[in-house]
């Protein structure tokens, strides 16, 4: 049986902004943004579930975030994931991609004997596309980024299509391997009603009273949560402490339209256009 881990992130829904998205200090105002499952992580999860439809496999979904990130883990269970785990600790807060990939790697090692890790190409809040590759590096897996199609899967190898800017590569890999998946890859499935029934009461252990927890455990409603200690991580490498990325300054730029200038389509007009562009420091090849 193949063990698959999907890395997921809860992100502010930047496509459905309901209020002032940016605070005056230039940071994101999370209060007005609904929290959603990062779209390309859904593509990664869908790919994991498609693999499970084809071969014997078990799909684990993990996310690092505050307790409310449990919502996306439940969503993953509704879609058909077998297991979910929350990685949460105040000491993980304000992590950059380096610290995040360190914590996630710890969780993947805790799960153990993993054959395949799938992650979305990038998250819509940070858009770095760095976490997947950094995790691969830390756990010592080969990596294939920008996967746009699952072509073949067997117990021994996987063949995927990788989209580059100018070419498409078809890559065959043995396990273990880590893939980052783009939104081209598939259409994530909808939640299944019976899975919703089975898991809508799911939560992290501390959310249940002692009496409830026993029943919850019997019924599979307990989503394990791991903190820094249980993952045996080095506090210096986590959260703010482990994040060398420092934001120097955030500038809010508002693009405003200036006066519209028309150029005639003869040589003189085009030369004038080029001169004006140079003058305004807009670079061209």
């Amino acid at each position: 049986m193949k063990k698959i881990v999907v890395l997921a992130k809860q992100v502010p829904d930047t496509a459905n902004i309901t209020g002032k998205a940016m605070k005056d200090d230039g940071t994101i105002n999370r209060a007005v943004l609904p929290a959603i499952f990062n779209p390309e992580d859904l593509n990664a999860l869908e790919m994991a579930l498609e693999i499970k439809d084809k071969i014997d496999a078990e799909v684990h979904v993990i996310t690092m975030g505050p307790p409310r990130a449990i919502d996306i883990l439940k969503h993953a269970l509704y879609m058909g994931a077998d297991k979910a785990a929350l990685i949460t600790d105040r000491k993980f807060a304000a992590a950059d991609t380096l610290a995040t990939s360190y914590s996630l790697s710890g969780a993947i090692e805790k799960i153990g004997d993993v054959d395949l890790v799938l992650a979305g190409r990038q998250a819509i809040d940070g858009d770095t596309a760095q976490v997947g590759p950094q995790v691969a590096d830390k756990i010592g897996f080969n990596q294939i980024t920008y996967v746009s199609k699952l072509q073949e899967i067997t117990d021994d190898y996987i063949i995927v299509q990788r989209d580059g800017e100018t070419q498409t590569e078809v890559i065959k890999s043995k396990f273990p391997v880590l893939l980052t998946v783009t939104d081209e890859a598939n259409n994530p499935r909808y939640s299944n009603c019976l899975n919703m029934l089975k898991f809508f009461k799911s939560n992290i252990p501390s959310a249940f009273s002692d009496d409830e927890r026993k029943i919850a455990e019997e019924n599979g409603w307990v989503i394990p949560s791991y903190d820094l200690e249980s993952l045996e991580l080095d506090a210096e490498k986590c959260g703010l402490n482990g994040s060398p990325t420092k934001v120097h300054k955030i500038k809010s730029i508002t693009l405003t339209g200036g006066n519209l200038e028309m150029y005639d389509n003869q040589h003189t007009g085009i030369h004038k256009l080029i001169d004006d562009i140079k003058k305004d420091y807009i670079e061209v090849d």
Binding site: R189, Y190, M196, L197, W221
Partner: protein, 566 residues
């Protein structure tokens, strides 16, 4: 992201009192295990998730594909019927998400939902693609097998339905047996302890499906309904049924309408011999009628939304046409008709839920004979009343929506052209409007709605006092008119004005349902009042018309047919 599970649907659904149904379905919350429901709060929370998920699928997956389904349609080649690709995808998505066994018990892979909740899903599916409802709604076949089949039949067939491995059809109609099913001729032949079907069925929705429930004459040489039995035919077990052709239809192109020829095809009896028409078809038909009401309501909702959208986009005379009184008059009427129809529709679904609940209790040996009889009679009058109201309403809404679109509405570029074609079948199949009138009249003769009308009169109103008095006066008026019609003592006259009396009760009943809601919810009070003002003039017109015809023709009404008889 848009979602068809709107505030409006949620509101009217929340008005239905289905707690006893939920308790019964969920074994009084005594079940254990990960999929057990332990309280009303849990049930409501889950139903809400199920409805929202369905609304998402309908709005964002199915609706965008509906034009393609209409253009490609189901096709027929070399004896094989094929759904449009988009139809296949739609059914797969709904099946994978678990919606194909909505009201079936979870032991078979179903959701065990109340009919009321499931009906709201059927309505949303219909809004997204009316032709898909025909395939999706054929779950009713599975429900009939569940109610009347043997354990062996249930275990064999129901999981296949729930998992979307098979689709089905109800094969009732024949070339000479349409509205009059007592004339069914297809033979059910018993030979060496096995049953075989021989003959032709026509106009069978999805007759190409793997499983058909077939009404056939099992009693050789008999005439009438009592010689008919119900049979379960499974194509994957026998291949002696062929699809001869599919119809080229005005609308619902995604749904194949088949002509079937059975050549001594092996099948199994469902339930008891000779009960085919009188018991099982009646049960199947009521479910199907509720489904068609859902279909019509969904189409009406879609046509209404298209009209509102177009009226806000289209500019003429220097303003958007939504500002023109002739346009917003049509929109306002659509809104009032759709909302009161939805109220009636959910109420009807709940009535069916109560009938089903008492049937379950009855079959477990509880002494609920009286309750069952009462619940059944209410479901039996509300089901045709809903179909009468909603399918005609949907046609009118589509007609007006085309009108608001002007010339564009006549072109295939806009969804309303398709919607108006799809709507046209709803007041014809599963019993024409005229047959719904017959069914309603039979209930009215037994005064089935008396308790509810009496309850309304004793309802303690908070705000809408004068409105209540007006409605109470119309109730009295209705009884007077009904007596007056009967006093003519002529069957033809009674039937001639039957559609009028049915419309009168359909309006009064909706007012009776609506007032207590508007009385407690300020945001609905304005719409209620608008509907009341519209209704008053309509009721007065209908009552006047009946009286005029009574005076002018009375028991001589028959002579009106003389010009047409060859």
């Amino acid at each position: 992201m848009s979602n068809f599970y709107t505030k409006n649907r949620k509101f009217y659904l929340s008005q239905q009192k289905i707690k006893p149904i939920i308790e019964d379905l969920e074994n009084n919350f005594q079940n254990s295990g990960s999929d057990a429901i332990h309280s009303h709060e849990e049930a409501e929370q889950w139903y809400d998730m199920v409805l929202k998920n369905a609304g998402d699928i309908c709005s964002n997956f199915i609706w965008p594909r509906s034009e393609e389904v209409d253009i490609k349609g189901a096709t027929f080649k070399d004896g094989i019927v094929e759904w449009a690709d988009a139809t296949k995808e739609n059914m797969k998505i709904l099946g994978d998400a678990g919606y194909l066994g909505g009201t079936l018990p979870r032991q078979y892979g179903g959701l065990n939902l109340p009919v009321t909740i499931n009906s709201a899903i059927v309505e949303m599916v219909s809004q997204a693609d009316a032709s898909l409802m025909n395939l999706y709604g054929l779950q009713d076949i599975a429900v009939t097998v569940f109610k009347f089949g043997t354990e062996e039949q249930k275990n064999r067939v129901l999981p296949k339905f729930c998992h979307g491995e098979v689709s089905g059809s109800m094969a009732l109609t024949e070339p000479d047996a349409g509205s009059d099913l007592q004339a069914v001729q297809l033979k059910g032949i018993e030979k060496d302890g096995k049953w075989y079907l021989d003959g032709v069925k026509r106009f069978i929705t999805n007759g190409s499906g793997e499983i058909s429930l077939v009404l056939a004459r099992s009693e050789k040489g008999s005439k009438g309904g009592r010689g008919l039995s119900m049979f379960l035919y499974e194509r994957y077990r026998d291949d002696n049924m062929i699809v001869r052709r599919i119809e080229d239809k005005h609308g619902i192109h995604g749904s194949p309408t088949c002509e079937l020829q059975f050549n001594m095809a092996e099948c199994e009896l469902v339930g008891k011999r000779k009960f085919g028409l009188i018991k099982y078809v009646m049960s199947l038909m009521n479910g199907a009628r509720l489904g068609v009401s859902a279909q019509a309501l969904g189409i009406a909702q879609a046509a209404y939304e298209e009209a509102v959208k177009y009226a806000n986009e289209r500019e003429q005379f220097g303003k958007t046409i939504v500002n023109i009184p002739a346009v917003y008059q049509m929109l306002k009427n659509m809104q009032a008709e759709i909302e009161t129809s939805r109220l009636l529709f959910y109420k009807t679904a709940t009535a069916v839920d109560f009938e089903d609940m008492y049937e379950r209790k009855h079959s477990k040996g509880e002494n609920v004979r009286q309750e069952l009889k009462q619940a059944k009679s209410i479901a039996d009058i509300l089901t045709p009343l809903s179909k009468f109201v909603i399918t005609e309403m949907a046609n009118k809404v589509c007609y007006d929506s085309v009108q608001i679109h002007g010339g564009c509405g006549y072109m295939k570029d806009f969804p309303v052209e398709r919607l108006s074609r799809d709507a046209r079948i709803t007041n014809i199949y599963e019993g024409t409007t005229q047959l719904q009138v017959v069914a309603v009249l039979s209930g009215l003769k037994s005064n089935i709605l008396k308790n509810e009308l009496d309850d309304f009169k004793s309802y303690e109103v908070q705000n809408l006092k004068s409105e209540k008095e007006l409605i109470a006066a119309f109730i009295d008026e209705y009884y007077k008119v009904f007596e007056s019609i009967k006093s003519v003592n002529n069957r033809d006259f009674f039937d001639y004005v039957g559609n009028h009396i049915t419309e009168i009760i359909s309006i009064i009943y909706r007012l009776v349902l609506f007032l207590p809601i508007a009385d407690k919810n300020d945001e609905k009070a304005d719409l209620f009042k608008f509907y009341l003002y519209e209704s008053m003039s309509r009721l007065n017109y209908l009552i006047d018309r009946i009286e005029t015809f009574k005076i002018s023709y009375g028991d001589k009404i028959e002579k009106l047919k003389n010009d047409f008889i060859n």
